[in-house]
């Protein structure tokens, strides 16, 4: 019996040329994304992982049968192949919310830095802005709510946490994540290949800089 019979997986219609695959966990999102990507179907134009769903969109009129076929063969329990990409992100721990995060976690600021910088993260998906990666692997102590009042302007390079994710703002924008640091890495450059430093499936480690 294929995984489509799993009670935690649903294929939802999404217009004439796309399907939304809903699963139960971020790991399963990664497995679906990796499985569809590996199949390299020529008609697929967008493959977009998110928090609990994966969008698979095909060329208009190409039909979704090929996608359904691939999906029925995906092993949800498979650990997605990370494609060998491993990224090191230099982070300066100078964020304005460090004390708030420490207080919420019930530890010292130094503990926050140590916890955040020693974890190994995985880029679950991009969203919000070009090159904004949602990284999972955040230690449980640091899984905290967003700010009650979002900032009107978060500077480019700001590193924040929110819920189960950590991430860095590629360009100045409004934002509600609790900010713990800053990175000087060029997170998004449309003229670079690949343009996004952090891509779905990438493994990310942090190098503390001062």
């Amino acid at each position: 019996m294929g995984w489509l019979a799993s009670p935690f997986v649903r294929l939802l219609p999404y217009g004439p040329d796309a399907l939304l695959v809903e699963v139960g966990t971020l790991d399963e999102v990664g497995a679906v994304r990796a499985g569809v990507q590996a199949a390299a179907l020529p008609e697929v134009v967008e493959l977009v992982p998110a928090a609990r769903t994966v969008l698979v969109a095909v060329r208009p009129g190409a039909g979704l049968d090929g996608v359904r076929g691939v999906l029925s063969d995906v092993d949800l329990a498979a650990v997605p192949d990370r494609g060998g990409r491993s990224v090191t992100l230099p982070v300066r721990y100078d964020g304005p919310d460090l004390s708030l995060v420490a207080e919420t976690a019930g530890c010292s600021v130094q503990d926050v830095v140590s916890l955040h910088s020693s974890a190994t993260y995985t880029v679950a998906f991009n969203g919000f802005a070009p090159g904004f990666g949602y990284l999972t692997g955040l230690p449980p102590e640091l899984q905290q709510p967003r700010l009650e009042r979002p900032r009107e302007r978060v500077p480019a390079g700001a590193v924040g946490i929110a819920g189960e994710f950590t991430g860095a703002y590629p360009r100045p924008s409004p934002g509600g994540w609790r900010l713990v640091g800053t990175t000087d890495a060029e997170l998004f450059d449309p003229r670079r290949e690949p343009p996004a430093l952090l891509q779905p499936g990438d493994e990310v480690r942090i190098e503390v800089v001062s």
Partner: protein, 292 residues
């Protein structure tokens, strides 16, 4: 100066908004990049065919006319989209047909009587530094060139094609009420009786509509599922129901993910009409069955 250096047009007046556009940058949503590109891709393709360009060449998307372009070299120009007045140095010419500009001549595009947008192709196409394979201005993410300003000079590519004459091409129709066929899903079960509520309502396009989406006013849809929706991907045409219950139909510069339920998706055939829907336009969202 070489002939190539003269292959440019000067934007003397932009009107309310003139943007460089092409067929956008689809295929990068997983990087957080919206598709962008012409809101009516068929109209841009047509304009390009008329002047002998490849269909995906970069042209202009013009909101409510007011555009004047001065040719730096002889070129062929075509205006598509809704019906709008076009003249060269004051002499009326046809839209939806190739027209020739001599060096120094000025093409003016007036405001359409109905609808919002026109597309302008120039032989050779607009050239520049592509970002993710596209020159299109994306008003949401900031990719592509900034909206044009009076006095901007646009470089043109080599004029290689043969302009195609055509006398049967009609402007984009502007009908009211605008009927938008939609396919229900993926989250129609997150609001009360989505199909009947969408179909029964007479929606109105609001002033806050733009290239990101057409925002509608009408009877708010009532949310049935109260838990928070984890961010999920959004497609062009998605009908999203935000916290206030008033649907937004996403257009080309839409965010790639969103945390509100998408209850239906407009068929691609409805997008040209949505691109022309002025604030105040009455809209019907008509649930249809998927093709077999």
């Amino acid at each position: 100066m070489t002939l190539t250096a003269l292959r440019r047009v000067t934007v003397l007046r932009t009107g309310p908004q003139a943007l460089v556009t092409d067929l956008g940058r689809p295929g990068h949503a997983h990087l957080g990049v919206p598709p962008s590109g012409a809101l009516d891709p068929g109209a841009l393709r047509l304009a390009n065919r008329l002047v002998g360009n490849p269909e995906g060449a970069a042209g202009l998307e013009v909101l409510l006319g007011g555009l004047s372009l001065r040719a730096g070299a002889p070129c062929t120009v075509a205006v598509t989209g809704v019906s709008a007045p076009v003249d060269i140095d004051g002499a009326t010419v046809d839209s939806h047909a190739p027209v020739h500009l001599r060096a120094g001549e000025v093409l003016r595009l007036g405001a359409p009587a109905r609808g919002l947008r026109n597309w302008v192709a120039v032989s050779g196409g607009i050239t520049g530094d592509a970002e993710l394979g596209s020159l299109a201005t994306d008003l949401l993410s900031g990719l592509g060139p900034a909206p044009l300003r009076d006095g901007d000079v646009l470089a043109l590519g080599a004029d290689r094609g043969v302009p195609r004459g055509a006398d049967v091409i009609v402007p984009t129709a502007v009908v009211e009420p605008l009927t938008v066929p939609v396919l229900l899903g993926p989250r129609d079960d997150w609001v009360d009786d989505a199909a009947a509520t969408l179909a029964a309502a007479r929606w109105t396009v609001t002033e806050s509509s733009n290239r990101v989406g057409v925002r509608l006013d009408g009877p708010p849809l009532r949310r049935r599922v109260q838990r928070e929706l984890p961010s999920e991907p959004v497609v062009t045409g998605a009908v999203q129901v935000p916290a206030n219950g008033l649907p937004v139909v996403f257009l080309a510069d839409h965010p790639v993910t969103g945390g509100y339920p998408v209850v239906a998706v407009a068929l691609p055939s409805a997008l040209p009409g949505l691109a022309q829907a002025r604030p105040g336009t009455a809209v019907r969202l008509q649930p249809v069955r998927a093709h077999p």
